[in-house]
Each structure stands twice: as structure tokens, then as C-alpha cells.
Amino acid sequence: MSVFPKGDFYTRHFQPSGKEETLVVNMGPQHPSTHGVLRIIVELDGEYILRCEPVLGYVHRMHEKMGENRSWVQYWPNTGRVDYLHALAWNWAYAGAVEKLAGIEVPERAEYIRVITCELNRVSSHLLWWGAYLLDLGAFTPIMYAFDDREEIMDMLQMPTGSRLTYCYYRFGGVSADLSDEFLKRLSRFIPYLRSRLPMYRDLVTENVILRKRVEDVGHIDEDMCRRYGCTGPVVRGAGVAYDVRKAEPYSVYDRFDFRIPTYPEADAFARYMVRMDEIEESLKIIEQAIATIPDGPYLSKSAPKPKWSAPKGEACFAVEGARGKITYYVASDGGRTPYRVKLRSPSYCNLSCFAEAAKGVILADAVSILGSLDLVIPEIDR
């Protein structure tokens, strides 16, 4: 034995199975299918996975601790960087938590603006997932179609928010800029366009026999498993449970819109795939209704906090439905200049934790398919 022990902390704790014929390999931290820096230690018997263990923390940025050393308003940019693909949902969760804590009113128009932009962001997130998932499965071209449409969404979201990815758009008591008429016009043109593209997506990929073979009957995550690990979002809806925060505990103005929660009982990777594809349609439906009924008025409440504002004593918790599942912000204040505690509940973290169980005994190539079907955003897991 050399002076330096082999491997790192995680591999040493993973090692002692003692079997001769198995092989322990690292998948990641840099692996194309993890879309970020996630490392999975896998014990392989031939092509089959005996057991595996995700190792996290490579992009840990201390979002919770950062909340404690900056003022309430200064925490805004952080919220957009937790999950960069559905940044507005995180924006919203923070806004909601603080508004609940301080009792700040949000004008009606602002609520509608939030719904429109957040749903648009959800569509773009699902489109990116769609492309990236197929990339994992070895199909390169679909991501180009997805990016073509997503580009249009990003161009549109750039109009009110000013940025294209890590939005910092919502504010306590509203949003930071109004939606222009041009934006609304462009958006109402875009919805039928994207709708007309969806059958193309179906013909190109969903019906494709190769995809079907790779996702059907792969990676079963059933209701019981979801319950044990706390999975939410498309994972739990893919297991046949119609749980969606927008319906379960309606926040903002979601109770005014008519939309369906797509569920599929098969609980495999294909069910999760279909849930997301259907969700794009549902989001478009919500946006359409919101555009039709958006009221006039201010986009930022008059009593919106000033930059030096700090929240009154107390605590609050607010949950929204992100593209990946239930996002929760918990904020506690002792009345001081900075938050006393900011806690983030990220859906990807819970969704990932069931991977080790779901991937037991499958072929390595299927593990990639399972991992992709969970739609993980690694910075969100590490926070």
C-alpha cells in the first residue's frame, strides 16, 4: 500500500464490496449526460449496474449562506442563478415568501405578468430538456429544433427582463418592468406557432421507434418511491399522481385559469417524457388565457420596499411549481438588515436521490436515459 490512500473519500466509502469480477467506475464529474458537474460512482458487473451513488457538491455556491450576509433586496440576483433554466420560478418563490412575510400586496397586473413570464420560461425549460435528453440518448439534431423555438422565447423574455437566462426580474410587490404591447403581440403570434410545431416534435421524435425502445419500460419510479424520496414535478406526475402546486395550493392567480395536470401512470422514462410534452401545451393554454384577461394597472405596488428595506420579524414559507417540481423558499427574519435564514428546497435534489434505487440492475446505457428523464439541473441540486 502506498503512502497515499487510493481514491477520495467517496470512493473509499463506496469500495468494500469485495467482489472480484465487478468494476467501480466514476461517471462524471464531467460527463456529457449529467449536464453539469455531477459525479456518480457506479459498480458494474459487465454492463449491468449493481449499485451506484451520486456524489454532489461540485458547484455548491452557498446560496443559503449568502442570504444571511446581504440585505433582502440584494439577494435578488441569487434567486435567478439557482436553477438557470427556470429562473423565474425561483424569482417568484423568493418574492412570494418575502411578500407573505411582510404582507406586501401585489397588483393584479403584476400577478398576470408573473404568470405569463413564468409559464413562458417553463416552456423554454422543457424545450431545452427535450433537446438535451435526446442528446443524451444519442440523437443530435432534435436539440437544434428545440433551440430554434427556444431562441424565440428567449428573445421575447429579453424584452421585459433584459436578460436571456439568469433572470432577475421580479421584485417585492410586483415586477421590475412592464410588458410592452409589442411583447404581448409577439407572444400571441408565437403561441399558435409553437402549437403548430408540437406535432412536428411528435413525428420527429416521440413516435420514433428508436426513442421508444430507449425510454419505454426504463427507470420505474412509482408512487411509493416518489413518496419515500419526496419527488415532485414531472417525476411524480409520471407516476400517475396529479400533484401540482399550481392546483394543490393555488398561488397568485392560477385558480382563474383552466388547465389540466397531465399524468401518466406508467411511471417509466417515457411517462415523464410525455408529461413534459403535455405540459408545454398546458402552459401555452395558461399563457393564452392570461394574455386575453390581463388587466391594466401598475406593475409594481406603490408600497413596494425601498432598497434599504428589511422585513419585519417572523418567518414565511412559499412554494411554487417549477419546471422540475416543487420549489420552496423559507425565509426567517429577526428584523435585522439581512435575513436571519434563507432555506431553499430544490426539486432536483429529491428527484436525483431516487436515481440510485431506480438505476439498480439496469444497463449502463439505460442509466443515462433515467438520469436524463429526471431533468436535473446540477446547480439547483447543489445550490
Binding site: 430554434d148 412536428m200 413525428d203 413516435e207 428508436i210 432598497p307
Partner: protein, 190 residues
Amino acid sequence: MGVIKEFAEALKGLKSLIVGLGITGKEFAKPGVTVHYPRKVVADKDLVTYRGHIELVGSKNDPAMPPCITCLMCQSVCPSGCIKIIKHPPPKKDPAADKNAPPEAYASGLEPKTKAAPPAKEKPVKTPKGFILDYNYCSLCGLCVQSCPVDSLRFSTEFYIADPSKKAFVYDLMARLKAQAGTATAKEKE
């Protein structure tokens, strides 16, 4: 029966592949959507809403001077601490004696280091002496622009910026404003 089923499935699969290939073919014939960057650039109208780094706005009377009143709000609200404003030193009782004194430096902290106005008869100069933005750390959140009481800040549409050195991203916004005002007047003269 099993064989027939297998065949039917294979045929269905084959059809799905051909349909997919048809879509790919159609898309192949369409014009590309990529902007080939160095040869083509994004149209200016698409940049109107783009948030580049912040810049100062010229005031109505003097386009080379911002309406900024050095309230230091932007400096204290910035989460990344990337704005540094240098104030004009407050007028001294005996200006000749303190001529060479260095300008007061303000550490970029959360709390503005404003001092009570000196009891001098001369009116203190409100416009900033220097306005330095360290764009390396800016997160483009827009809080500074939003919190400025006199609307002295806005976002530029600058995004063709790349440099191997970090120093290139420390901008002197006062100089930038002056240069902008200079080109604007030059254009008017033409």
C-alpha cells in the same frame, strides 16, 4: 401470430423513421437561423431591451454630465459591490492649504459613508468626480438602475466585449459619458 406482430411492429418503426427523416429533409431545405457572428451582427432593434453593463445618462443641460447627485444609493444597493463613486472633496475653509489632499475614498460597503454636509457657504459639488464600474462582478440585476432617485443610470446595449484581461472591464463611466457626448455633438455639427 408472433411473427406477424413482429413484422407489423418493425414496419411501424420503419415508418416512424421515414416520417422523421422527411421532417429533417424539409428543415434542411429551409434557410438557416444562425447569425454568423463576425460576418453578421445582431440587428440594433433586437438590442433595445438588452441589458448590457450600466452607464450614466447625460443630463438635459449638459450631455457630458450626469444628473447624479452622489446619493450613493446605487453603490450601497449593489449586491456585488462593483460600483465605486468618487465624490468631489467637500469645500474646505482654506482651499489653498488642502489643495494636495487626496480625495476621500469611499470603501464600497453596504452602508453609504455619507457625511453630514459641511457647514460651508460654498455649495458642495454634487456631481461625482469619478464613477467606476467593475463589470467583472456585475450580475446585471438592475437594482442600481431601479434605485437611482434621479434616473441617472441606464443599461447600455454593449455586448461585443471580450478581453483577455480583467482590467479591461473596469469602466470609468464618467469618461464614457464624456466620450458619448463628444461623438453626439460631433454628429450634430456634421
